[in-house]
């Protein structure tokens, strides 16, 4: 006789290995959204008046904000790493010169380009003297 038994899934699968790493990767998105909210606050203060904007700048200089942005920075770097690690999966298999290009080369290329882009932005900020 047949009486198939379907086991219920573990509702905490996302919190345990090997899936925890995936959940942490997705958590980087929270930091990215939170940083956007900080910038939004700045733009709104900018739209209000100079006093409001100065208040936003003072918030940025506070210890809480500095600690928060240190966390954002770590999350951003983690995002760069995991983004380019997963990027090859979203592309068709790359074949150059008749041979398949391993994903790690695509990842490496992506990280190099990101490093260059961020470096250029950083260089502009460091160099500009208004």
């Amino acid at each position: 006789m047949r009486r198939p038994y379907l086991r219920p899934i573990d509702s905490l699968w996302w919190a345990k290995p090997p899936y925890l790493a995936y959940t942490l990767r997705e958590a980087a998105g929270i930091a990215i959204a939170a940083y956007a909210l900080v910038l939004l606050a700045g733009v709104i203060c900018l739209a209000l008046d100079e006093n409001a904007y100065s208040a936003w700048l003072r918030f940025l200089a506070s210890r809480w904000s500095l600690a928060l942005h240190a966390i954002f920075l770590i999350a951003m770097l983690f995002h760069v790493w995991t983004w380019f690690a997963i990027m090859p999966k979203t592309m068709p298999r790359l074949v150059i010169g008749g041979r398949y290009v391993e994903p790690r080369f695509i990842t490496a290329a992506g990280i190099v380009i990101a490093a260059l882009a961020s470096f250029v932005l950083l260089a502009i900020a460091l160099w500009v003297r208004p």
Binding site: T23, A27, A33, L39, L60, P130
Partner: protein, 118 residues
């Protein structure tokens, strides 16, 4: 079965993700750490006069809108999927909360940028 509408959100997630990957670390470093402490940069680059001039320029508006809203849509997609994995609510509820928030952020940014004028 009909087409999913997810591609709309996925493409915005992708755009936000690429911008965050390319410029995110530098943006956070500059706006959140270097300028507030005055280390390495002239803090005047983000003072009221210069920032409002940037925000008044059409390209400046585009950059601010793109970064803020695409970061919000990127985060929204990931937060939606993670909350769904965690079974913290019905699919539709979580979708409205996540995407709705990103939509609100986009509208608020656009409104503020328009209020800043040209």
């Amino acid at each position: 079965m009909k087409r999913s509408v997810t591609p709309v959100f996925w493409l915005m997630f992708g755009a936000g993700g690429i911008i965050a990957a390319l410029f995110g670390p530098a943006l956070v470093l500059i706006t959140g750490l270097l300028v507030p402490t005055g280390v390495g940069v002239n803090p005047a680059i983000m003072d009221y006069v210069h920032t409002i001039a940037f925000a008044r320029h059409p390209l400046g508006k585009l950059v601010l809108l793109a970064v803020i809203s695409l970061f919000a849509w990127h985060g929204a997609e990931r937060i939606y999927l993670t909350l769904k994995d965690m079974h913290l609510g019905r699919k539709l509820t979580l979708a409205w909360l996540s995407y709705g928030s990103a939509g609100a952020v986009t509208l608020a940014t656009a409104a503020a940028l328009l209020a800043i004028g040209f």
